[in-house]
Amino acid sequence: MAEIVSLADAIERAVHNGDSVAMEGFTHLIPFAAGREVIRQRRRGLTLIRMTPDVIYDQLIGAGCASKLIFGWGGNPGVGSLHRFRDAVENAWPGPLQLEEHSHAGMANRYVAGASGVPFAILRGYSGTGLEGLTGLSGHPAIQPITCPFTGERLTAVAALNPDVAVIHAQRADRAGNVQLWGITGVQKEAVLSAERSVVTVEEIVDELDARPGAVVLPSWVVDYVAEVPGGAHPSYALGYSARDNDYYQAWDVISRDRERFGRWLAEEVFGSGAGSLAGAGAAEGGNA
């Protein structure tokens, strides 16, 4: 059964140094507040997993939390580059970032395999692309050809993803910790079911979850921690609760473009509120590089 705890407690208990962590949410319901809490708690050596490591992972990568990234598309949607991600890949700043790269269809199917308890998924895809030949984090190819045992047809196999922890944001949970999300639901259900542990931040905790069209419900017994974090998806949005803050994505392009400006953002916006003595360290880390 899920425990209802504070965000700080949820991250403290679920996310450890060196863990593989999948924070999902496809443009909608991105768990930004949880991402900042991971930075605040100074997790290191994470393997970050995400279909679209957009601004949320730019923040974690720039803050030095990640040493590896498994992903499909790393950009600032509708704006351009992820500058912290690029700085890590192109210049190893603030440290080297090892990549395992897939398409979105590959990532989605890897979660499906993980959630289904099978070691790999099959799809038509990758054939003839440069992605086929890339080495995964294991040192072996992350994408392998496979022959259908029934038809002899050549298809593509991708390994299951089973993260140590999945982190998502949802609209609501009830007091028993059952979680409900609706609108664009992305790959969050698969991420939670593929992971060893899970953290869900929600806009609100309610007495009863009334039906919503197209909603995904995650029963309390597949969720470990639920934390009430209104606005926890900002600058992305939560359908029915908030609108996407498009200006933030534009502003991020400026903030993230240089290391010093990013360091100031970390000091002020992440370590500045409620983290006290950690603020100085964060500023120095970003500013001196």
């Binding site: 496809f26 443009t27 909608h28 279909m51 679209t52 992903f71 499909g72 598309w73 790393g74 950009g75 949607p77 509708g78 580059s81 992820l82 991600f85 690029r86 890949v89 192109e90 790269e101 897939h102 398409s103 979105h104 269809a105 989605a108 199917n109 979660y111 499906v112 799809l123 038509r124 895809g125 990758y126 054939s127 003839g128 692309t129 440069g130 992605l131 890339l134 047809e153 050549r154 609108g183 664009i184 639901t185 992305g186 790959v187 259900k189 698969e190 197209g214 995904v216 992305s236 949005y237 359908l239 609108a243 996407r244 498009n246 200006d247 534009q250």
Partner: protein, 273 residues
């Protein structure tokens, strides 16, 4: 806004002599490639502007499908991301990401896929991954694949929209993110790619189409005022030119009005791209 606009080619984002920008030319040309009732897998930016322009003009029953799982979206403005709330609110159905790829795209249910590119080569292979000689130490790290490889493989046809320059139009892409025609004739069949591949490449200078025999991208149309030497100068290979080169019609007044209304209804939109 005049419907016929002689004179030099407009620059991206800036109004040409007739008040039409290069982005507007590209968007209108891309919109015209879509027919009413088609199903269309749409990415954000210019492809989304083109698909929504088509729906607002000659193709009201165009079925817009976004990777976020929104099927039959009917936004009254241009969405700002593929997961814009307006897509879910106006869609016929909203499905999960695994479902959109596995049930809808992969079996070949979708007629047209729209793709952009950082680099494209003479066989219409697309690179959105890295610029530079090696993957491990790239000169420029690009966003990566996203949904593009499977869109390129499984949509029944593909339209590519990309601005033309020697940097973007290269003899061979540094990395094949999405397959066009591979090494040439027979490649797609050998690789088991079900869709027919790129049908048109729409640029800010004109339109290129694969030669039916060689699969090589060939210039088949230019915008008014664009010369063939100008296009060749912005192509990184010895560009073949169709014997029946078209001069493409500029956007009509109705198309421009519809496009500008869509953009005006979109907060924070910089325009078609």
């Amino acid at each position: 806004m005049t419907a016929t606009r002689p004179g030099p080619a407009p620059r991206p984002g800036s109004a040409g002599p007739g008040g039409v920008t290069a982005d507007e030319m590209m968007t209108a040309t891309a919109a015209r490639a879509l027919r009413d009732g088609m199903t269309c897998f749409v990415g954000i930016g210019l492809p989304s502007a083109a698909a929504n322009l088509a729906r607002a003009t000659h193709a009201p029953n165009l079925v817009l499908i976004y990777e976020s799982g929104t099927i039959g979206a009917k936004p009254g403005r241009l969405p700002l991301s593929i997961g814009d709330g307006i897509l879910a609110e106006t869609a016929d159905a909203v499905v999960s990401v695994p479902e959109i790829f596995n049930y809808w795209l992969q079996p070949g249910r979708i007629a047209i896929g729209f793709l952009g590119a950082a680099q494209i080569d003479r066989f219409a292979n697309i690179n959105t991954t890295v610029i530079g000689a090696t993957y491990a130490q790239p000169k420029v790290r690009l966003p990566g694949a996203g949904g593009a490889p499977e869109i390129a493989a499984s949509c029944r046809e593909v339209i590519v929209v990309v601005r033309q320059s020697r940097r973007s139009f290269v003899d061979r892409v540094d990395f094949v993110t999405s397959v066009g025609f591979g090494d040439g004739p027979g490649s797609r069949e050998r690789l088991g790619l079900a869709g027919a591949g790129p049908r048109k490449v729409i640029t800010d200078l004109g339109v290129l189409e694969p030669d039916p025999g060689t699969c090589e991208l060939t210039l088949t149309g230019v915008y008014p005022g664009v010369s063939v030497p100008n296009v060749r100068a912005k192509t990184g290979w010895d560009l073949a030119v169709s014997a029946s080169l078209d001069v493409l019609e500029p956007p009509t007044a109705a198309e421009l009005t519809a496009l500008r209304q869509l953009q005006a209804a979109t907060p924070g939109s910089e325009g078609a791209a």
